[in-house]
Amino acid sequence: MILRIIIHVVLLLVLPPLLLGVINKVKSWFGGRVGPPVLQTYYDLIKLMRKGLVLSTTTTWVFCAGPVVSLSTVLLAGLLVPIGIFDAPIAFSGDLILFAYLFGLARFFTTAAALDTGSSFEGMGAAREVTFACLSEPTIFFAFLVLAKVSGSLTLTNMLHGHAGGFSAAVAAPLVLVAIGLFIVLLAETCRIPVDDPNTHLELTMIHEVMVLDHSGPLLGIIQYAASIKLFVIGAVLLHIIAPFATDMIWLNWPLFIAELLGLAALIGVVESVMARLQMAHVPYLLTTALLLCGFGFLLMVR
């Protein structure tokens, strides 16, 4: 029990930057390049934590609170999500709502920190972030409704383990729709192509990267670290639906989960390589698609 929680926390703290490394490696292969080492994100983070930082004269304490609050919230959210077949360290009836609202809290403070700089670019990014969340948040709740109905429970752990023995045929169709919808939300929330491009340097077309233009040094490091944890957390949720596999040897399930998660990262890398970023005006269509998919999943479930 204790050991399980320790492994959970260690994975939550250590593994996330690796996912970004895998995504970048896959993208490089698709582009015919060797690419940065898989561990590059770790090196980046260490370098950033050592660097000095420049603060804008316009900013207040809110500017520093943004990264700090977003790291705290994703860590707490990470403790609510079960990893593989193992239960989450914290599970209680109604934790799914806390899970969703923790991301809301992170959004509140990251966008406030962006506005704190007084830059119009960062204002644009913040506006886009809160706008797109208005579509992705209902999508997540549709997905939760479906999962709660499937599992008959209101704790994330039970909801996501509700079909650990495999899908029953009756719920396959709604779950497929929900899985696609959640995958789109995953791409949007973690700022990947086709919604956002983490590599671009054109301020006008970005969401997340443009919000953090003025963060530097350790603050930027925290932001990137928090972003990778967010990818880990939402990915862990999604894996329960698309790959609910388990082996009989209990301890083998940890490596299995890690392998699945790296596979998901590779999949994101493939999506990023074969797709172009959408026009900003078209992003709402994509998110509405996700909303509709999850909504129809819900309809199929309760019909």
Binding site: G52, T58, S72, L76, L105, F108, S119, E137, L145
Partner: protein, 663 residues
């Protein structure tokens, strides 16, 4: 028994609190101080009465005949009343203290005394509304409350905007009262008494009519869409502490009326709950969408009140469905969450209106797009505003989250989990709540960012500073209350349980919030979150101190000199969302583009007027104003003629009555 007398005394003290001030000079600060002291004393007495009544074995009530031919004097303080009495005794007193700094009588000799008087009457009348147990007495208290609010809100009557908002409010509130009069008449017809006591089963059509009349009549006061027309204008134009009381407490009296009437009616039909859920969802989403489009800080807050009323209505709808389907857990979670949100909204909305008042006090403008960069000039107000904003977005660990969480759990339970019967379509309301939550974050980040962050956009704000202690202290009280209630919801859950059981007539064994939702985890995780943030901050502090290599201006893409006007304004921040919701918001834009070789100055203006008021109600009134004057032929200003009309009508009625008797 003593507690009810004490409560009536408290109400009397509140009602009369403005009188001593009227005897003193219109420029005297001591008059205002006396008024405030009486407000505080009256409120403390009221809170004392509430606490005492909790200890009493029976519900304290009082009933005696009076001089009027209808109804009687009947008051009672059951657990439902108590829930609504608490905000009445908290917010107005804090507002009065706040007013000592915000609306100093020597600076407002024309209206200071009048404001003090009507403000006290408003608070006292609200206390009576919450305890009245007779239709006639209730209507009287209701009308006094409505009129007192009118006089308090139109303190600055020399401003035409204020007068217009006052007119709209007066008309709207009386249309609502008309519905209530019809409702009580019908009630009297069915139960042959005006007494507000649980009725025997009545024909479902009659009960349904009473419900609809209550929904419309009280809906005007609550600000349910599309009956909200009076609300934004009245809240925006009233003095800020009056806005706080109106939004934080008076709207809730509408909620109280609806809750009370639905508790008196026998088991409700299915469609009542469905109607409430639909109306609540629409009110919530449309309210917050309108809020995003506003440029006036107080109008924005007013629209967000409409949104919160929507959330409360969703909770009430869930409870109603629970009653008609015999599901006590839905009742406990739905009504418990709704009543909890009534309190919470009273706390954080008052805090936000107080902050708005402090901003207006310092910067002399309500226009969000002219403000900016106030965080450095008013750090305390900024911190307190941030607490209110996080709370109203229902974000953990503050109180807004706790109440919405209960409603969410209730809605998820309607899915029919683990083999129990359910009503899954109800759960769609959770999607509306999720959307409201995301929109609220957008709305309040916009407000926070445009007002407090970035650099100042105008010269008006240059001399802004934190307000005096009389204004800050009430805000601190409210902020602390937001945090306490949010972190320790178990402190209040028993009161809410009692109220929910009273409402639905459930036995004590029917369950409680604490059984249906693990409140302890909210406390634990809220504290954990705060601890985690504090730890990371602590760790960062040394880093930040040693690593800051320099200060520079914000990255501006290489422009040599950027200007404050280049910043993203509140309007631009909300533009995409306003566009997405254009089908309800109908934003107005005025754009004169550059044209020709020697163009005139280009101009761009955009605003979001109230769709219902400005595009439906006002045109209708103008139409009526154009065509109805033809009816003036019957109105010759000749008293004899009017008496003749009365005679004719009475004779006609007599004939009609006679015909009815024969058949």
């Amino acid at each position: 028994m003593f507690s009810i007398w004490m409560l009536l005394a408290a109400s009397a003290v509140l009602c009369l609190s403005g009188l001593p001030g009227c005897l003193l000079s219109s420029r005297s600060l001591s008059g205002q101080r006396t008024t405030t002291a009486l407000m505080v004393i009256g409120s403390l007495m009221g809170l004392g009465a509430v606490v005492m009544s909790l200890g009493e074995a029976t519900t304290p009530s009082l009933r005696m005949p009076w001089f009027l031919p209808w109804g009687q004097f009947a008051v009672s303080m059951d657990s439902l009343s108590i829930v609504f009495l608490v905000p009445v005794f908290v917010v107005p007193a804090l507002g009065a203290i706040y007013g000592l700094g915000y609306w100093k009588q020597p600076e407002h000799p024309q209206n200071g005394r009048r404001l003090g008087l009507s403000y006290g009457v408003l608070a006292g009348a609200m206390a009576l509304v919450a305890v009245a147990r007779d239709g006639v007495f209730f209507l009287m208290a209701w009308e006094v409350m409505a009129l007192a609010a009118y006089f308090a809100a139109t303190a600055e009557e020399d401003n035409p905007d204020v007068r217009r908002a006052g007119w709209v409010y007066l008309i709207a509130t009386h249309v609502g009262t008309l519905c209530l009069i019809a409702m009580f008449a019908l009630w009297n017809h069915e139960t042959s008494s005006f007494a507000l006591e649980a009725a025997q089963a009545m024909p479902s059509a009659v009960a349904g009519t009473i419900f609809v009349l209550a929904l419309i009549g009280f809906g005007f006061k609550m600000g349910l869409m599309p009956l909200h027309v009076w609300l934004p204008g009245a809240h925006a134009n009233a003095p800020s502490h009056v806005s706080a009381v109106m939004s934080g407490v008076m709207l809730k009296m509408g909620v109280y009326g609806l809750v009370r009437m639905t508790s008196l009616l026998a088991v409700p039909s299915d469609w009542w709950g469905a109607v409430l859920l639909a109306v609540g969802g629409i009110t919530g989403v449309a309210g917050i969408a309108f809020a995003i489009g506003q440029q006036d800080i107080k109008r924005l807050l007013a629209y967000s009140s409409i949104e919160n009323i929507g959330i409360i209505t969703v909770g009430l709808g869930l409870a109603m469905l629970g009653r008609s389907h015999g599901r006590p857990d839905w009742v406990i979670l739905g009504l418990g969450g709704a009543l909890f949100h009534v309190w919470n909204h009273g706390l954080f909305k008052s805090l936000l209106f107080f902050s708005a008042g402090a901003i207006i006090h310092a910067a002399h403008t309500r226009d969000i797009d002219r403000l900016g960069g106030l965080a450095k000039l008013m750090p305390r107000v900024m911190g307190l505003f941030l607490v209110g904003a996080v709370a109203i977005c229902a974000l953990p660990p503050l109180n807004g989250f706790a109440s919405e969480w209960l409603i969410y759990i209730g809605l998820f339970r309607t899915l029919g989990l683990g083999g129990e019967a359910g009503l899954p379509t109800t759960a769609v309301a959770a999607i509306a709540l999720a959307m409201i939550g995301a929109l609220a974050v957008a709305c309040f980040v916009k407000l926070l960012g445009a007002v407090f962050l970035g650099s100042p956009r105008g010269v008006a704000t240059a001399r802004a500073h934190d307000p005096p202690a009389t204004m800050i202290a009430p805000m601190i009280v409210l902020a602390v209350a937001c945090a306490c209630v949010g972190l320790f919801p178990m402190l209040v859950s028993v009161l809410l349980d009692n109220a929910s059981r009273t409402w639905a007539g459930l036995p004590a064994s029917a369950g409680s919030i604490a059984m249906a939702a693990p409140l302890g985890w909210i406390t634990a995780l809220g504290l954990a979150l705060i601890l985690l943030v504090a730890l990371i901050l602590l760790a960062m502090k040394t880093v930040l101190r040693s690593k800051v290599t320099g200060k520079a201006s914000t990255w501006d893409c290489g422009y040599v000199q950027s200007s404050a006007r280049i910043q993203y304004t509140g309007s631009s921040f909300g533009q995409t969302l306003v566009g997405l919701f254009a089908f309800v918001l109908w934003p107005k834009t005025y754009w004169r583009a550059l044209r020709g070789v020697f163009p005139r100055t280009a101009r761009f203006k955009s605003n979001v007027p109230d769709t219902v008021l400005d595009r439906l109600v006002m045109p209708l009134f103008h139409l009526a104003g154009r065509h109805l004057p033809r009816l003036r032929v019957v109105q010759q200003g000749w008293t004899h003629l009017y008496m003749l009309y009365i005679l004719i009508v009475v004779i006609l009625l007599l004939i009609w009555g006679g015909l009815g008797a024969q058949t």
